[in-house]
Symmetry: C2
Subunit: 745 residues, 2 copies
Amino acid sequence: MKKISLFIVTALLSFSAMSQGKKSFTLDDLLPGGSTFQQLQPENMYTAWWGNTLVETAIDGCNEINLSDGSKKVLFTLEQLNQWLGAEKDAPAVRSGFNLTFPDAGQPWVAAVISGKATSDDRRTRIYTVTDFKTGTKVWEQEYPADASAIDRSPVSKNMAFIRLNNLYVTTANGENMAVSTDGCHDLVYGEAVHRNEFGIMKGTFWSPDGQQLAFYRMDQSMVADYPQVDITTRIATLCPDKYPMAGEKMHKVTVGIFTPATGKTVWLQTGDPTDRYFTNITWAPDNRKIYMIELNRDQNHAELVRYDAATGSKDGVIYEEKHPKYVEPQHGLLFLPWDSSKFIYQSQRDGYNHLYLFDLKTKTYPETRNTANGGTCREFVKVTPLTSGEWVVKNVIGFNEKEKTLLYCSNEIHPLQSNIYKVRAKDGKRSLLDNGEGVHYGNPNADGSRLIDRYSSPTVTRSIGILDTKNGKSCNLLTAGDPWKEYNVPEISSGSIKAADGVTDLYYRMVKPVDFDPAKKYPTVVYVYGGPHAHNVEASRNYYARGWEIYMAQKGYLLFILDNRGSEHRGLAFENVTFRHLGEEEMRDQMEGVKYLKSLPYVDADRMGVHGWSFGGFMATNLMLTYPDVFKVGVAGGPVIDWQYYEVMYGERYMDRPQDNPEGYKGSNLLLKAGNLKGRLQIIIGYNDPVCVPQHSLSFLRACIDAGTHPDFFTYPGQGHNMMGKDRIHLHEHITQYFEDYLK
Amino acid sequence: MKKISLFIVTALLSFSAMSQGKKSFTLDDLLPGGSTFQQLQPENMYTAWWGNTLVETAIDGCNEINLSDGSKKVLFTLEQLNQWLGAEKDAPAVRSGFNLTFPDAGQPWVAAVISGKATSDDRRTRIYTVTDFKTGTKVWEQEYPADASAIDRSPVSKNMAFIRLNNLYVTTANGENMAVSTDGCHDLVYGEAVHRNEFGIMKGTFWSPDGQQLAFYRMDQSMVADYPQVDITTRIATLCPDKYPMAGEKMHKVTVGIFTPATGKTVWLQTGDPTDRYFTNITWAPDNRKIYMIELNRDQNHAELVRYDAATGSKDGVIYEEKHPKYVEPQHGLLFLPWDSSKFIYQSQRDGYNHLYLFDLKTKTYPETRNTANGGTCREFVKVTPLTSGEWVVKNVIGFNEKEKTLLYCSNEIHPLQSNIYKVRAKDGKRSLLDNGEGVHYGNPNADGSRLIDRYSSPTVTRSIGILDTKNGKSCNLLTAGDPWKEYNVPEISSGSIKAADGVTDLYYRMVKPVDFDPAKKYPTVVYVYGGPHAHNVEASRNYYARGWEIYMAQKGYLLFILDNRGSEHRGLAFENVTFRHLGEEEMRDQMEGVKYLKSLPYVDADRMGVHGWSFGGFMATNLMLTYPDVFKVGVAGGPVIDWQYYEVMYGERYMDRPQDNPEGYKGSNLLLKAGNLKGRLQIIIGYNDPVCVPQHSLSFLRACIDAGTHPDFFTYPGQGHNMMGKDRIHLHEHITQYFEDYLK
């Protein structure tokens, strides 16, 4: 395999020599939600596949793109489409091509969602409408309530599922409406993504491949405590109770049903008692007759891949089992090979990194327990063949090339900060790099996987979009964006690595130097931190993935430093699970290695160091302020975890076990007990209606500080959740910036 | 009448010449709740009347005080009392004499509340125990649940009423327990002070003079919205709903019952439909057969004094009626003359100032409507004789001298800032000053009113306690406190007057100069403000009533200025009700006159002016920051009203009418609409569980500022209500001080 040099890690993007006379950014320029944000984004192009035909979905219509040379041909204009839909010119039914879809690879059909008329009981409806763009005639439409959510369509059967007021409904292709459930309520919900979206759960309905059966989640949460959220925007503030199972407390019970529209009947998977169990990664077999699910115990250290009979709900057997002394975390459903329905791809960290394994259902093996490379055990009930391996992770499978019988996937094999597109041959695991080997790539393949849209950026490439031939890796460029910031005084952004506190592991950082940087000066320095699992802050994409606020702060004269400590993602299981049962400790040790490095730099003012983070990063920022009160003078912690017993069961117990089983770990990570250590200025900021890190975290922290006689500051965004969205994001970053300006400068 | 010079207004208390080498105060020294606060309070003495005998209730026991010379004789020691109660020496049943009472003027009895034993169902009890201190024997005791509240005893019948879990109970003298109500719940409460303690309502149970009948309030609040308060101290935060009728919204319905323990029966006063009506100032006739009540319409512009028959509850007739185009606010029950049960004293502002009127029930007059001096009307159904009059207010009636047939009361007749003890003769209204004509006095008379304990302070007298002979005003001094602050560097505290914005009304201010004041320097200046009705900030008591925080700020180098604007109390109705339907406007105009005066002073730094206030003062501070953004650089607003539609019906509608009836007034006083004006630094601070100015005020303000792109700061005290109590009060004032130190200094 071609070895790609690690040039990006030491590359510097230097603009400072040309800074004179250039423009300065506003926060609106730099942050999503800002009024001028879009204008300063790199040039872009939106595409969709219509079978194997590539379509540009533009503002004013859709164009077919020639796969060989990228040339365009108008398929239809938005004006035409609106005419076909009978819309007035002043009130178009469809306002941009971006949300159009092509629901049938074999037909020249374009689908849009348009507003329906008000019904007799004054409820609005929406209409999913499909138009033949060759003839300009309406092919088919489906009306549904405007307050329906979680809409899930089978492109094959045209059946549609949706949720309304906690109940699940199906509208069939011929317009028949069916209530799958009728007893849905606050305590009992149908069709929702369960387990608070952990374990890779993104939705709660799953059509069989032929679209004739609907698997769905039913969640009984009557035994789960309500967290009392309050809506202050009503005439008199109102209670909005939110079921929130806290670590160690009673958890919801999930069951899985299979509804058949043709019969109107539901069967239930016979899983046994659902108490303290997680049911995840529901996957239909290609034959529509079996259904697979990964079942995990509450302690999350024992996962089983189980098969059920879809017609009866009866258990058909265990296919695979994994255990680990810390935790097993299944996050991906099965991917059946399009050319062989007896084989599927399973993703696992059993060898220490997320890799692909080929399961052969035609085989049967003795279920012997054997040790895995990650320190756990597994039992294989069918033959399992590793397809990929190595000290790097498969990030995601993006498709298959059916003709070549290869899988298309992204991994960081070239460098931990990169993501590149590969193919791997199913029969022997032979893999090849398909893209240019640089930066961070995303791939979106066509119907047969012969081509994919390759979108990427790197520290030297703002944005590039091309068509990649998955047979030979040949590329046809569609767009290379120019630098949208060329008129601006952009700070120098660099990346590098240091050793973790364990002395051996490489950790990667990003540094954003103040604009007009002068190495002879000393600059106030802010560490931005996240540090938790399932996330990273540094990668080899544009500007090394720098956030707009970093640019803004650099412009204000700060040096920004961002380090992905152990515990963060894409570096393998041991890198992540070293934090098990004592969240915060190793992460802080690593961050302090970053501080040590910063202090070694002559231009970092060690007397003016600050820290900022949100969510897990808010936990880290608060913890660093309280654990190293003489290092950090100013901190801003957003939506922080303060005491892990207030966090939810799924995520919380995976990393911390239950409070009753790990009292020392909960005590050690409980920031309430460190409230008296506060010395510098620390501002806590939360969305007043945060349903993720509930306000009890931060309010308990204020209470603890008051009791301890220390003085944090506090701000809250009423109506906002865990992250500030829209315009509030600008206000938030003004607020954060002002705090550093007030106390660190 | 002796004319007392107004010396106090211009007096200056100057300590600065001697400031060198003196101690500095901590906040703990200066604020209630502080660990050293009590040590630095003026020397004190606690007394109680046992009939006509004066008793000192000291820490270690009770002494009889000779009324002629103040000499003391031990009645009993606490050690003796504990022996009599059978308490262990290490675990005394009674820990200080301060809470002892003498329940029978004719008997040598001392009463104490001691802890009872745990009952079988593990509920604690308390015991009210009466001991004969001549013989050391227990006379009588009464046991009741430890979670009983609103305990109300008849000293005559010894019947006791109390509330437990929303129901009302009576325990009779012989220990019989009776449930007056059994259907009490969150929606329906018995025996509580109703109407959120407005209209002078302090309690919800009223024993007849003979103690054989109990009048009580019953409040149906099922139609009142719950404000969703949240307790974050439980394992999972819990909802604590609080019935809170907001201005213009549905209000509770009150009825009044009369329970007779001897029969176990309750009759209800036949008031008619209680919707949108207030029932206040319940008073028993001396003969136990009639009961009086003032009834007010929701618009609060029509009050009737109504009499009912206690045995049947039937309406006996209207005695008196008052109307006013703005509002009538009855705040005092009837006071029957001890020597003539056909006459009572009624307090009214009908002549523009709170005065005393003698009603003669033996008479009957034609109920003609006539105009009152305050701009309203009245109807007198019996003969009414004004007893006092003039451009000053009766503050409170403190008792009667039965022998002389005089009333004892306090008024500010000498000076608006003073309170002095007078007597007035019932037959002809001849009144005489009884005290020394200085400062602010409180009087507590003995059983026959021949003597009273006169406690006072003034700008030159820290604290003085004496026995006053109400016949001739002769005084026997018991205590003259020394200066508890003589070792401290105390700032100069002065008072003076300016003209209100109307150009004619005198307004009084207090000024606290920075310690070690140098007139050649310019000082940062903080206006402390309240400004609402029912309160004043400046009076001629010790330090002109300065709050400890002002002393602390003066010590930090700030000048403090406190002005009682129009709308505040003790200056008559027109002074108060000029703010009707547009709260904040006149008040701010007056405060800006204060600012004009401050700016005329060479040592006030007009570029460093701040403002601080709490509750109505928080409304004022916020309003001033937003209305005069170029005047005030820094503000701290505690528990502010932001939008009067979020305030409760009784107080809110009295001054603002209903939102639907006064949209312009609500709009003009709505600080949400001014959120975009914020220019300086404004910190909003609230008790997280504030049941008075509910969090919706401040949270809506944050939301409005965020939407307007302005940046207030915010802090909250979880678990606290409208005012921070105990140790949190220290933390709060550290927090407030720090804010001025950060941004104003």
